[in-house]
Symmetry: C2
């Protein structure tokens, strides 16, 4: 037992709940099941934590992911086997996208495990670690609580998730949820140990590299957003006068109209100015940058070399030198100090072209096109929203927007799981309630996770949902076999469906023409107390320009 | 390369398709994604295979599971990462329930894997075997195709699934889907090798045991149904005059009114006559029986002893003797011969009580109760249907039915994943089109997988769906914390929702009273061309008697 007699104790459930609160978590996502009921009962007694209903675990997992992006941690509570495995894709996505979700799975009692009982929700073979073993492939740590070390194990899981910005897996046996543990540990907030020696060593390497540099550039990746470091990075760039480019996965993290912004860096695919800036730099600092096929313009980025500085979640390295064990916040601190110290020495940032005069926006009565849709959205999008863009035409349309200042952008360009962004509205909306979510999602994607419209409405979140209805998977039509039947989906009556899930809070519009879309968007902005659905009817073979570019690069890469 | 020059070749996709056809598979379940498009294009050219649209992979996986139960194999085709991990729970369920689903996941090209490319749908770490490693926890074999051995690997996966009646995992790299392989292998149907020595050794062990036996009993488990051996087992029991009892997981597999039927065996929980018969027997033959908590009445079954014969998918054993490597079909053959040889020596089967006079059925106008619902269903249920019962009050209500002859029963009493049975209607309906599906499902369960109502209708399946609407998870209310808020679900307008998904083929009824239910069921039986939804409104705390018994046993087991 963790708690010696006479000490102040709390139950494991309360201990976990209080650690979550300390980390900024106020909502619990998940689905109940018989192996987590005692845990849920215990968590329900922790003041400040609210249970959020989700119709299934995949949706809960996606919602938790979006919540964690804003809050720095989220908790996803499921039951053994049937529950925890239903959100495997969501948790793997959190791993791919560097999102700190603590997945808490209720599990069979230690007594049943000890006697190898053949329980339901197992493979009826007396083996109990199959699912934690499976989760070892996609989580940074797996802890199955024991009576001896429960509190330490909770701490290890929470700390690992926040330090790595990766999902962690915590299995809570049903008979340990009420185990008393020493409450005194809670007085010490969880934090990674300071690493002054690593910081000094990284600083020395960096100073040597910067000594003769004149034109450094920062490549801002999504880890900057995950660690909440955007303000610090912006301040450092401004103080030093160093330009930055932004990966698509970090869109919205820094103001796109900032004078030091060199644009979107995806190799040569999206923005040739950004590519030229990086190629010409004499030091390239990767700030939590991830260079996958999609994010690197199919590997047309400047490869890492001796003039590259790489800052990841837990390491910092210069060129081919040793990786120092330094968390991103500390490494950014070292970097900022040295850039500031060199202020005046750096070449002036290239002049950022003024925001182009808006293209003429189509408001006519012919069939709606992707081009007209995104031009109208560009014109309409209010500042201060959260834009959520699902994978497919939605992401590649939204990626081409020049976002207003103070816009949060949520997408999944590494993992690319369709259906993610709809439940993500729930997590984003609860994490950041001052900001109205604006969701762009295709019909094929929305069919994956549509039931969460009901949870979103029930939780009081009031998004604008722009449903790009092109009757199937247009991203796949763009990539291969455009007329294959497998790319078509079963047609649904979307307004009726949404009304059945949402109830009277729903306002639905059909937009078959640019004129109808303009009217619908205008009404949506005014109906702030409604869940607004705009069904935009689009041609199955129409796609935004960036998606066409992606498809061309993809087929060249396959050839 | 598998195919030497000059030999007849087919592509890997066609080879796989033809092996599936040979095994009785005519439908493919799944969702397209960029890593499986070449495979899907190749499968589309195989005459006799039809692609079935599913809105998401979890539904496709459940549908495949139900299809495999009837056909002896099903194919589930997904894409790498985002797709294959979305149905992890469904495939794990197939493992728990002994269902042969071949999970075919399209994966990155071997060339990209060889150079460790950082691709989308990965964790961006150049590691490509994470998901097959995760699947190693729940599938009987994992094959990632290679250019050298592709055809052999396809055969190994198909054979493993059918021999073990367990899911198998087959990863098809995108650049191998069109690889030519030797077609001549297709002339030899896949079959496990005969095992005459194991059969002889098992026969000898069995003969020794039966030599002094007078009262053997057969415990029929679900593997009898999975291997399609119900007819053979019934014939053997009849020829020998040996009684049988049936596990809940094998409900519907043998006629419940058969004179040799000793009833339902779940330890002492469901049917004390069946328990007494097993206790009194001098030989107990477990025919693919699985004795989990739920199926054994919380371990109140007669434990295995020296007088127990155990036949599993791939082994047969007598008492504590060695397990012989013998598949269930061959082992049942050995058993049948010896039981027949002893005909006349066995004690007469206890007289099966006549079907009890039907209890008075409530048709009044007071609020509908679980008792009235199940009594009406008992009276109404036509012969020749497929009854699908989701986990929860639906399963425990349906488990108490005495089924008409020629009724297929589909449930998940080992894995118990709520939401399973709705997409299962799609698989059952396509596998066995002469039989109308009758689905019983709670509202909490239906919220998990509701979108498949659209696929069911689009595929031409015309079920009766009885939705037990008790506004939450009543099985959990029965187990613990009945009034906890986490057991409530967001209310939906079910008839409107179903209409939006199904279209004009939907006919919906609300049944708030027994009288309304009677009318709705009558109309449902007549509307054979409609998808009929009956929303039965029930009290959140009302439960069928078997569920109450389960809850009592469960809490005793926890104490």
């Amino acid at each position: 037992m963790s708690a010696p007699r006479g000490t102040e104790t709390v139950t494991v459930a309360e201990y976990l709940g209080r650690r979550l609160l300390q980390a900024g978590v106020e909502h619990l996502f998940g689905v109940p099941g018989d192996f987590n009921l005692t845990l849920l009962d215990g968590l329900a007694r922790v003041e400040g934590l609210t249970w959020v209903r989700s119709p299934n675990e995949l949706g809960a997992g996606y919602a938790a992911d979006a919540y964690a992006r804003r809050r720095g941690l989220a908790a996803l509570v499921t039951t053994y086997g049937v529950g925890e495995l239903s959100c495997f894709n969501a948790v793997a996505g959190s791993a791919a996208e560097d999102v700190p979700v603590l997945h808490v799975a209720g599990s069979p009692a230690t007594t049943a495990v000890a006697r190898g009982a053949l329980l339901h929700h197992t493979l009826a073979d007396g083996v109990f670690d199959r699912f934690s073993q499976a989760y070892a492939q996609v989580t940074v740590v797996q802890e199955t609580l024991t009576a001896e070390r429960a509190a330490e194990q909770v701490d290890a899981a929470v700390l690992a998730a926040t330090v790595h910005r990766r999902p962690a897996y915590l299995s809570v046996p049903a008979d340990l949820a009420e185990l008393p543990v020493d409450a005194r540990r809670l007085a010490t907030p969880l934090a990674p140990p300071a690493a002054p020696e690593a910081a000094a060593a990284f600083a020395a390497d960096l100073a040597a590299l910067l000594a003769d540099a004149t034109s450094p550039v920062l490549v801002v990746g999504h880890l900057v957003d995950r660690f909440g470091l955007a303000g610090e990075v912006r301040a450092a760039a401004e103080a030093a006068g160093v330009p930055f480019v932004t990966q698509l996965s970090a869109k919205g993290c820094l103001d796109e109209d900032h004078p030091l912004s060199g644009g979107t860096y995806a190799g040569t695919m999206v923005d040739t100015r950004a590519a030229a800036l990086v190629e010409a730099a004499d030091v390239v600092v990767h700030l939590g940058a991830v260079l996958t096929d999609v994010l690197s313009g199919f590997f047309t980025h400047r490869p890492a070399d001796a003039r590259t500085v790489r800052l990841d979640a837990t390491t910092a390295a210069v060129g081919d030198g040793a990786a120092h064990a330094l968390g991103l916040p500390a490494a950014v601190g070292v970097l900022a100090a040295q850039l500031r110290a060199g202020a005046g020495r750096w070449a002036p940032a290239p002049v950022r072209p003024a925001r182009p005069a808006p293209a003429p926006v189509e408001h006519g009565v012919g069939p709606l096109t992707q081009q007209a849709l995104w031009a109208q959205v560009q014109e309409w999008l209010p500042a201060g929203t959260a834009v959520l863009a699902d994978t497919g035409t939605s992401f590649w349309g939204a990626a081409g927007l020049r976002l207003p200042a103070d816009t949060v952008f949520v997408g999944q360009p590494v993992w690319n799981s369709i259906g993610y962004a709809l439940p993500a509205v729930l997590g984003q909306g609860l994490a950041d309630p001052g900001r109205r979510p604006v969701l762009f999602i295709g019909d094929g994607a929305a069919q994956m996770t549509v039931q969460d419209l009901g949870s979103i409405a029930a939780a009081g979140v009031r998004p604008v949902v722009v449903l790009l209805d092109n009757r199937g998977y247009t991203i796949e039509r763009a990539l291969q076999s455009p007329t294959a039947g497998y790319n078509d989906v079963t047609p649904w009556d979307w307004p009726a469906l949404a009304a059945a899930l949402v109830g009277p809070a729903l306002v639905a519009h059909a937009a078959r023409t640019a004129a109808e879309l303009a009217q619908a968007l205008k009404a949506a902005a005014e109906d702030v107390d409604a869940v607004v659905l705009v069904v935009a009817e689009l041609d199955p073979f129409d796609a935004p320009p960036l998606l066409r570019a992606l498809a061309e690069r993809n087929s060249a890469a396959q050839a």
